[in-house]
């Protein structure tokens, strides 16, 4: 491990039980399934932990967030924003399930004097945030591969080399039947 290398947090936020709200978590889950990361990179399923995520954020030099964001675009459209633009988007409207708001997590890290040097947000336009118990809608589901790819490109830009995982050795990020495939299985 390179001691001088920046610490990077790849974070997915949202609620998997609530339709497209689950985008962020499902995107990091897919990212983790696809790529092996060096020790300087942490891949985290942040769920709807809100303020409790502040210590993960403050430990990061660079922060990459996946989240469902209402930009008023076509459902499934991806939009990447960076650095000072990030707080303006996270915690925008329709973020009801993590109302403590990721924006506040960033502010709290700032107030503690430990704000990430670089930030990027890969947001996906949701179609349906209100379907309790529902799966991701088709356009959001289809955006996951592109989102993972965009994440890999950003990390490459930040000097991180990712390698593709050998499928047999993957320990899933979400287990106990709440992994994406099992969750969406309907009996």
């Amino acid at each position: 491990m390179d001691a001088g290398a920046p610490k990077i947090l790849v974070l997915g936020i949202g609620n998997i039980l609530w339709g497209d709200e689950g985008f962020g978590v499902r995107a990091v889950e897919a990212f983790h399934r696809r790529f092996e990361t060096p020790e300087t990179v942490t891949v985290l399923d942040g769920g709807t932990q809100g303020l409790y995520l502040v210590h993960f954020v403050e430990e990061a030099d660079y922060l990459l967030v996946f989240d469902a964001i209402d930009y008023g675009l076509e459902p499934g459209a991806l939009k990447i924003v960076r650095d000072e633009e990030v707080p303006k988007f996270t915690g925008s409207k329709k973020m009801s399930l993590h109302q403590t708001g990721f924006q506040e997590v960033l502010s709290a890290a700032d107030l503690l004097g430990r704000y990430p040097q670089k930030l990027a947000l890969i947001g996906c336009q949701p179609l349906d945030l209100e379907n309790w118990g529902g799966a991701l809608t088709a356009p959001v589901q289809e955006a996951i591969d592109a989102a993972v790819e965009a994440g890999a490109q950003l990390l490459a830009e930040w000097g991180v080399a990712l390698s593709l995982r050998d499928d047999n050795t993957t320990i899933a990020l979400l287990t106990n039947d709440i992994d994406h495939q099992s969750y969406e299985r309907r009996v």
């Binding site: 609620n15 998997i16 039980l17 609530w18 399923d45 942040g46 769920g47 709807t48 932990q49 809100g50 303020l51 409790y52 995520l53 502040v54 210590h55 707080p87 915690g91 925008s92 409207k93 329709k94 973020m95 009801s96 399930l97 993590h98 109302q99 403590t100 924006q103 506040e104 960033l106 502010s107 709290a108 700032d110 107030l111 503690l112 004097g113 945030l129 209100e130 309790w132 118990g133 287990t175 106990n176 039947d177 709440i178 009996v187």
Partner: protein, 596 residues
């Protein structure tokens, strides 16, 4: 002109209507409407919240042993406590017993969640209802230091420390991004602290933010990871290997010592920072004893923290179990979570449909069928409500009742029941606090009492973590390494049909899960969460719920700036994510307040 409710409140909705939507700094979406009289005193209160539906749909036909992982995702705040309730429900249904070590580990995790949640609630979700951040900018750091040193031996208290902090805060405020402080009614006349107390509290706001991350490491040790720790039907998901030198996942002496140190530091932080702050802040608000609501009448606690494994009877639970009705502190009534006549949910004023809405349904027979329609006197349209008609259906929250009675749940309910039982663990600290503040015992029945009970409980929980950690280590030293019972792990060892319930005391109150299992799969699953009890709308008899009751008769300094409403509602630590659904199409950043 008013109506008297069966539970003793006089409602008058003739005055001006104030709408707060949403109530900010909570999980989920809550809207409050009140009517004030010509003196701006609240004479009618209406609480409406987001919907909790669908877990039965998600869990239907899944493996009962995985239910905890789903329920852990319901909410971002009490993840572990839902998971614990779930594994208890499955164990109750299938008659599975757990080893003593697993009971200790679960108690430590549950108490850890109480400590963490209460601390974060006090400083980060509630303190700003009492503490004016902008006033802190004009504090004298020397006087702040003198104040801090007079109330606690906590070492971070020098004039230089407070001066630096004030400079940082100034810079932060001047940069225009107030961040966590942006939704405040700074300068509101209902703020009573001098600038120095405000600065001290803001310093501790930041220290608590820094400290809270250490507490949850306990979940990482015993639950394997955090966020979203692992749980296990039949025990705790961690092997113990004291001789091990770091076998993956196993608990060794180094891990046990780490937990022990975190417990010590938690006790120290709570006793030297949280409790002294609470006493200091409360001292300036002694004459603001509004917000008692149902607490002086009817309260309920399921109880929690079994001293010994597998016994959930009241005598074995360290947090009290029982119900007090109509202010009769002489009698604590017993609860049976399986009795169809005791816990029932009504939907007369909720946006659901029952075959007969004059009757309630026990959660084993629960039905969740949406029926969204506004009462005849509502104003606005179904998609843009201006004001609700509380005479009709008006909330996505159901009305749970205990034998037909509306009850308050949460730390204050637990302390009142413990106090009524004469349990010294609850009565003595409460009496000491009352004496320090020089207020009568009835002062407990207030917003401040709710906030104080939470602080006392945080201290209690931190000390009980020490008790169970010592018990766990002693048991291990005696050679007992068992953490799980897998005798009934395989579904083929289960009966074809089974039903059961699990309960816990979540930080914000009584939490219950009810499960029906058929052919090894989940057939039905229902949860009643604490905020459903507290935030419930009226029932068929007209009883108002705990949020509504707590707002009654509170004077407001300025209805356009409803600080008093926020203060009282926040004192319940409401969590609507559990109760779940967005009512308004846009979750605005700032609460909008409309006075009509």
């Amino acid at each position: 002109m008013g109506i008297e409710t069966p539970n003793g409140f006089n409602l008058d909705n003739s005055g001006k209507r104030v709408v707060v939507d949403p109530v900010t700094r909570i999980e989920g979406h809550l809207r409050i409407e009140v009517n004030v009289d010509s003196n701006n005193v609240i004479r009618n209160a209406v609480s409406t919240g987001t919907m909790w539906r669908g877990i039965e749909v998600i869990l239907k036909n899944r493996d009962p042993r995985d239910a905890w992982a789903f329920t852990e995702r319901i909410c971002g705040v009490c993840t572990g406590t839902h998971a614990l309730t779930s594994v208890r429900a499955v164990e109750n249904a299938l008659n599975i017993s757990i080893p003593e070590n697993a009971n200790s580990i679960r108690n430590i995790m549950q108490l850890c969640l109480q400590v963490h949640d209460h601390l974060v609630h006090f400083y980060h979700l509630h303190a700003l209802d009492w503490v004016d951040v902008v006033s802190a900018l004009s504090a004298d750091p020397k006087a702040t230091s003198a104040l801090a040193q007079s109330i606690s031996p906590w070492p971070l208290s020098s004039p230089g420390y407070f001066k630096d902090l004030q400079t940082r805060l100034k810079k932060f405020v001047e940069s225009g991004q107030l961040g966590p402080f942006k939704n405040g009614y700074w300068g509101h006349p209902a703020y009573k602290l001098p600038p120095e107390a405000n600065l001290m509290a803001v310093a501790h706001y930041l220290e608590a933010l820094d400290f809270q991350k250490d507490i949850v490491k306990i979940h990482t040790v015993y639950g394997g990871k955090n966020p979203h720790p692992n749980w296990l039907v039949g025990g705790a998901p961690c092997a113990i290997n004291v001789d091990g030198t770091g076998a993956v996942g196993a608990i060794n002496m180094e891990r046990l010592n780490l937990v022990s140190q975190i417990i010590d530091r938690s006790i120290e932080f709570v006793e030297q920072v949280y409790i002294p702050d609470l006493v200091t802040i409360a001292g300036f608000y002694k004459d603001w004893l509004y917000g008692g609501g149902l607490s002086g009448k009817s309260v309920m606690s399921y109880g929690d923290i079994p001293e010994h494994a597998n016994d959930y009877s009241a005598s074995n639970l360290l947090l009290p179990r029982g119900v007090i009705l109509n202010g009769n502190l002489k009698e604590v009534l017993p609860i049976d979570n399986a009795d169809p006549e005791q816990i029932q949910e009504f939907v007369t004023h909720s946006w659901y449909k029952y075959p007969d809405e004059t009757k309630g349904l026990h959660p084993f027979d629960g039905v969740t069928e949406p029926n969204y329609k506004l009462g005849p006197n509502a104003k606005g349209t179904p998609t843009k409500i201006e004001s609700l008609d509380e005479g009709g259906k008006y909330s996505w929250i159901k009305s749970p009742r205990w034998r037909g009675n509306a009850v308050e749940v949460g730390p204050l309910a637990r302390y009142i029941i413990g106090y009524a039982q004469g349990n010294p663990e609850f009565k003595e600290p409460a009496d000491r606090l009352l004496k320090t503040l020089d207020v009568p015992v009835t002062a407990l029945f207030s917003t401040l009492g709710r906030t104080a009970a939470r602080g006392l409980e945080c201290q209690w929980a931190a000390r009980k973590m020490r008790h169970f950690q010592d018990k766990l280590v002693a048991n291990i030293k005696n050679g007992d390494m068992a953490t799980a019972n897998v005798d009934k792990w395989e579904p083929k060892s289960w009966p074809t049909e089974a039903q059961g319930y699990g309960f816990t005391e979540a930080p914000r109150g009584a939490l219950g899960h009810w499960i029906k299992i058929k052919n090894g799969k989940i057939d039905n699953y229902q949860c009643i969460v604490p905020t459903t009890w507290n935030g419930s709308p009226r029932d068929p008899k007209g009883n108002i719920g705990a949020f509504e009751a707590s707002l009654m008769d509170t004077p407001m300094a300025d209805p356009e700036k409803p600080l008093e409403i926020l203060r009282t509602i926040h004192s319940f630590d409401p969590c609507l994510a559990c109760s779940t659904h967005v009512m308004s199409p846009d979750g605005q950043e700032m609460a909008s307040v409309k006075v009509r």
